[in-house]
Structure formats: C-alpha cells, structure tokens
C-alpha cells in the first residue's frame, strides 16, 4: 500500500498517543455518535433490511466464487462499450499504467474523485514523481491534501479534524494550491463548503484528465458506478476528455439488477441517507457526452491473496460504507491513523493484514486491535463476520502456517514477540486439562492472598496501571462445593 504508512509503529503504541489527545477524542466521539444514531434510523426505515443484507452477501459470495469468469465478462463488455481495460497485478504496475496514460494526453495535472484504491496504491505520490500533479476534489480529501495529513476514515478521511481546524488549514494552505480562501472565512460548515467550491471550480473547468475509482462494476453491461454527495465526482467523470478509473477486482457484481440491493444498503450504511445526492453510472463512452477516452485499470494488489484464504476472503465483500468504523469503540478512541493504513477501523484490521501480509509490526498488531465486541458485524451491510476473521488472523500471527503472497503459496513463520504468550497459553492448556493442577494453583492463590501486591510488575502493569486487581477469595468455589456438599450440608 501507500508508502506514507511505511514504518508505522504497532497499533497499541500509536493508540497510546491518540487516546491522550483530547481534541481528537472529542472530534471522533462527536462525529461517530452523530452518524451512529442517523444510520440506525435510516436502516430502521426499511422493513426488509435483513433480506437486503443477505442478498448483498450472496451476490458478493457468488461473484467471488466465479471471479475469473466475471472479470472476463466485464472486460468484454467494457471493451464493447468503447472503453480500454488494463490489468495491474500490484500497486507499482497500476501506478505505471496510470502515469503512462496521463503522459499520453500531454497533461501535467489531473483531478481526482475520492477513491480508496488510488489511496491504497499511493497514486498521488507516484504521479508526483513523474511530474504530474493530482488534485483531490472530495472535500475531506482536500482537507487531508492541503493539511499534508493522512486519511483517518474511509468515508470522511478528515473526520479527525473539527471545523476550526479545517478553517485554519484552508486559510493557511489554499493559496499554495490555487485560489486562496475567502477573506474572513469562518468555521461554519456552509462557509467551509463554499470555500472548497470556489477553490476547486477553476480546476474542474480546466481539467483534461479525471481519475476515479468505482463503487461497483457490472459484468453483464460493463457499467461503472460512482456514489457521491458533493458533485465533485460528476465533475471529474464528465468534464475531462480522458477518464481513468482504478478499481479493485472485487468490485464486480454480475448483473444490472444486483445494483438494486447495494443502492439501497450503501447510502443508508454510509451517510445514513435514503439516497446519496449523486450517483453516476457510465458504460464505456458516449458520443458528445463526457470523456472521449475511458480506461479501466483492474487492480489486484493482494486481493487474490486474500481470496485464497477461505476464512479471510469474506473481507472482499466489503463495499466500503464505513458503518463498522462508526460503531467501533476502539476506532472511536484510537482514531484512524493508529491503523497505519488507508483502511482503518474494523474492516481495516482485517483487510490490511491480508492485502499486505502479517509480516510488519503494524500488520501483525492489527488483528488484536479489537475487543471482539461484534458491533461491526452487526451493522455490516454485507454481513462480514469481522470478529471471526480477526481471530483467524490472530491465529496466523501466532501460529504461522500456509498462506498465499503475491500469488505464491508460502508457509509463514509465527510472528516474533509472542514466545512468552505462547508458553503461557500452553501451560494454561496443560493445567486446564489436568483439573488437579488447576485446583492446586487456585489453592495456592487463595492461601497467599494476603501477600498479593496491589499492582503488578512487567506485563501485568498493562492491567494494574488503570484498574484495581480483583481480590482473591478465601477459597475457590470448588472447595466450597466439596466442603458443603453443594451447599446442602456443613458450614456455608
């Protein structure tokens, strides 16, 4: 994924800072709680939500099961409609293809619709290295780009910023990139949106090349779909002469009709609306309307490795709605940056270690960035059992084992740093399969209880730093049970 995240510390260290940042905590609490309540209301409005969710899951599962066939069908229909299809096995290849296409147009700047896939491959940085400037046009992406910041949310990459901070960024940075912020800009959201409108207008009107992702690609018709709110998507998809869309191979649905499911579940899950303000659908090119040249870059970049994992592959059903981020208590407190990836939150914790592998420190720590509370699974509109995949990936981290990396079968070694834990788990397993040993331990704990310390040294500090330890009782339950014959006789 993007080079921006190389060398990220493990999740707990990154979260350590975030938890102490009161402004960040306040911003995230406010935003996630606002959207949480709205989503619940929008979902409750449709009586058949469970059936829509089930259909969405089935459509995606069926597609993934026959992904080769649907990819070939999509390629044929896009080509027949006047588009050109490119295939990219990894980020570098996708970046090379896009940079090459931009250079062929002779242009040195592009306008971009918000796209997770291009964030994932670090396209902006790759284009910069080739002398091509990429302008982000989604309001939140603009805030991130102007603030030289990193995205922290799938839907609202600048969720970690409040209105005051956004105002300051606009006032300070807009002039560097084009039209400066209006004089006397205040922090009201309407004025901030207006400032973005004015700043980006000139860029839209002169743009010759647009770059996008897509929410859906329909195999039978070759139609691409972009779901958005602001109109920046429509600008980038219709005004430029050349349109390049970089899309993950898992974004396919088989038929036109399948959209009837996702166009109901996606808006309600993401922005909590009955329908988002704008949805664009295009099939190849249209004479005299929109771009003359349309290129579709189909991106693998770890997706087929993910597909090879029979438990983990369900992550590829994701439609990037971000409902799981908004309900996640860990995300709310740690913030998106701690996940060290463009995919933060619960879905990021299962996607990043699969797309990138579990070798790095951050990726090995992500499966543990969850209390397994299950709120994410409950809201997921395609029923991804995120806790199940988290636990599965924990197993991959501690046990290693077979996996697929870049299309090749490999046997992973257990991650470093789990030796003491592994020994403890084995010892506990031994004791728990020998009830006598367990009892001996319990009795020892009870008899020595008066000399137990109130806080623990070493790794135990992780508990006693913020919480009192429970007092050990005078006798374990089993001793009482035996002594009193189940409470029937003897002393209570």
């Amino acid at each position: 994924m993007s080079g921006t995240f190389v060398g990220m510390p493990a999740f707990p260290e990154a979260a350590h800072e975030a938890v102490r940042n009161e402004t960040l905590r306040g911003n995230l609490r406010h935003a996630t709680h606002t959207i949480r309540a709205k989503r619940a209301k929008a979902v409750a409005e449709v009586s058949d939500w469970a059936a829509l969710r089930d259909a969405g899951k089935r459509i995606k599962d069926h597609t993934l099961r026959h992904l080769d066939r649907y990819l070939e069908q999509l390629e044929a229909s896009v080509t027949a409609a006047g588009g050109t299809v490119h295939w990219a096995a990894d980020a570098d290849e996708a970046n090379r293809i896009v940079a090459g296409l931009v250079k062929e147009t002779g242009e040195s700047e592009v306008v971009k619709v918000k796209s997770m896939a291009t964030q994932e491959i670090g396209l902006n940085e790759a284009l910069e290295a080739e002398g091509i400037r990429a302008y982000e046009t989604d309001l939140a992406e603009l805030i991130v780009q102007l603030g030289k910041d990193r995205p922290s949310h799938i839907l609202v990459p600048a969720i970690h910023r409040n209105r005051g901070e956004i105002r300051d960024i606009f006032e300070r940075e807009m002039s560097e990139w084009g039209r400066p912020a209006p004089e006397g800009l205040t922090d009201t959201p309407a004025e901030l949106a207006e400032a973005a409108r004015l700043h980006l207008r000139e860029k839209f009107l002169r743009a010759k090349v647009g770059i996008s992702g897509a929410n859906f690609m329909v195999a039978e018709t070759g139609t691409l779909v972009v779901v958005e709110s602001e109109g920046n998507g429509r600008m980038c998809l219709t005004l430029p002469e050349t349109l390049i869309s970089v899309v993950g191979i898992e974004k396919i649905v088989p038929t036109w009709r399948d959209l009837e499911v996702f166009l109901q579940t996606l808006p309600r899950s993401s922005t909590a609306e009955r329908m988002n303000p704008y949805t664009s659908m295009w099939t190849g090119t249209t004479d005299e309307d929109g771009p003359r040249d349309f290129h579709l870059v189909l991106l693998d970049n770890g997706r087929t490795d993910t597909l090879a994992d029979e438990v983990g592959r369900q992550a590829l059903r994701c439609i990037r709605c971000s409902a799981c981020l908004n309900v996640c208590p860990v995300y709310e407190r740690a913030g998106g940056h701690a996940y060290g990836s463009v995919y933060p939150g619960p879905i990021g914790a299962i996607l990043s270690p699969q797309l990138r592998g579990t070798q790095s420190e951050i990726d090995a720590s992500l499966p543990y960035a969850s209390s397994l509370c299950g709120a994410c699974y409950e809201v997921c509109p395609v029923a991804i059992d995120i806790p199940e995949v988290l636990v599965h990936l924990r197993e991959r981290v501690v046990e290693g084992g077979p996996a697929v990396r870049e299309g090749n079968k490999v046997v992973l070694r257990p991650a470093k740093g789990h030796a003491a834990e592994r020994a403890a788990m084995r010892a506990a397993r031994w004791a728990f399969t020998h009830p006598g040993a367990l009892r001996g331990g319990q009795r020892l704990a009870s008899r020595t209880r008066r000399i137990h310390p109130r806080s623990l040294p070493g790794p135990g500090k992780a508990w006693s730093g913020t919480r009192e330890l429970p007092a050990v009782p005078a006798e374990p339950f089993r001793d009482w049970w035996q002594r009193t014959q189940g409470g029937k006789g003897g002393a209570k």
Partner: protein, 214 residues
C-alpha cells in the same frame, strides 16, 4: 506472461479449495427483499416523492400541465436568471414564458462558458418516490450530463404519475444501462465536516423539481 493472465491465474488458484459449484446465478442469489416498501395508491406515491425530495432540500412545485410554462417562467424570473441552458429535445413550449436568454446544449461549448450560465431546465427519465430521487439518462429532453452540473440552478420537470416509480428496484428495471445515468437526490451536499450534512458544494446548489400532472 501478461498481467491479465497473471491475475486470472491467481484468481483460479485462489479458488482451488472451493468445491466445483455450478449453481446458477439465479439460484445462488436469493432475493427475499421487497420490490417496494409498503402499499400506496398512485397519488400517495407521488406525495411520497414530493415529501422525500423536500426532505433533502429540493424545492418542490406541483402544477397541472396547462400551467407548466407559467411556473417555469416564474421560477426563472424569481431566480433572476438571465441565461438558461436548454437541452435539444426539450418541449419548446416550456420556455415560452421566460425572458431569459436560451443557450443551446451544443457539443462544442466549453465548461467555462457553461459556468457563466445561470440556470438549466430539463425533463427526466424517471423519479423514485421512496428515496426522493430523479434520474437523468441523457435523452434529448435532458441533454448532456454537464449541463445539469455546472449551472448553479436546476429546474427538473417530472411528469406525474407516469414517470414516478416507488422504489430503487423498479427504477433499475426501467432504465437503460447503455445510457449515461445521473441519479440526483436533492442539491449537492457534503457530510465531510464532522459527519454533519451541509447542502451546496459543487453541483447545483438549488434544485427545483416541478411535478406536472395531467
């Protein structure tokens, strides 16, 4: 080996554990969800459309066919529109009562030129009551996608009840995927500041929908 072959080969190897499954798509995808939500009369469906359009800040007007020209003339005048873009196939009668200069949707104009136009008047392909959505499909009475995007004021005429469907599934059934489609639900908006919705970003900041009856 081409990247195409590499990716397709990886997909096939990744699915090696999956038992051969020839369940046809129609059986694999169970659709127990509703074709539409609730039972409504035709008139109630139109009312719901009006309600949901307004809920997302579109300005809704209703009139009989005979008053449409006057309503469009009035809306343009109230807006103070001096210029209005006209799709090539728009009913010429609709603009008979406006003084605004009519700019044709010619294929050659520049985005800059379009940016100087005040308003645009179009028909639509259909409207969806449950979501408060109008859909444009680039037909001659709607024009190219850009003309409903760059001007800041869009007046869209919906013929009720025949252009109104209840639900998203019903809408997709009636639309042609080969045409460029734009689904519009209210004026442009953003939730990017503190996840709170604000209307008015890059698309038209004022969307007026005229529901025109028999």
């Amino acid at each position: 080996m081409s990247s195409r072959e590499r990716v397709l080969g990886r997909v096939r190897r990744a699915l090696a554990d999956v038992p051969k499954d020839d369940t046809p798509y129609e059986q694999a995808v169970v659709r127990e969800y509703l074709r539409e939500h609730g039972e409504r009369s035709v008139a109630e469906t139109v009312d719901l459309l009006a309600e949901n359009l307004a809920d997302y800040r579109a300005v809704v007007h209703r009139c009989p066919q005979g008053e449409l020209t006057a309503v469009i003339g009035r809306l343009l005048a109230e807006r103070g529109a001096r210029t209005v873009v006209v799709p090539p196939g728009l009913d010429v009668g609709w603009l008979a009562a406006t003084d605004a200069e009519q700019v044709p949707d010619a294929g050659s104009d520049t985005p800059d030129g379009l940016d100087r136009v005040d308003s645009v008047v179009t028909a639509c392909a259909l409207a969806i009551a449950e979501t408060g959505t109008i859909v444009l499909d680039g037909s001659p009475d709607q024009g190219r996608r850009r003309i409903t995007l760059v001007p800041d004021h869009h007046i869209c005429v919906v013929r009720v009840p025949d252009q109104v469907v209840s639900s998203v599934p019903q809408a997709l059934e009636r639309l042609d995927p080969a045409r460029p489609l734009t689904w519009i639900s209210g004026p442009s908006a953003t939730s990017d500041i503190e996840l709170d919705r604000v209307e008015g970003v890059h698309g038209p900041r004022t969307l007026e929908v005229v529901l025109v009856g028999e």
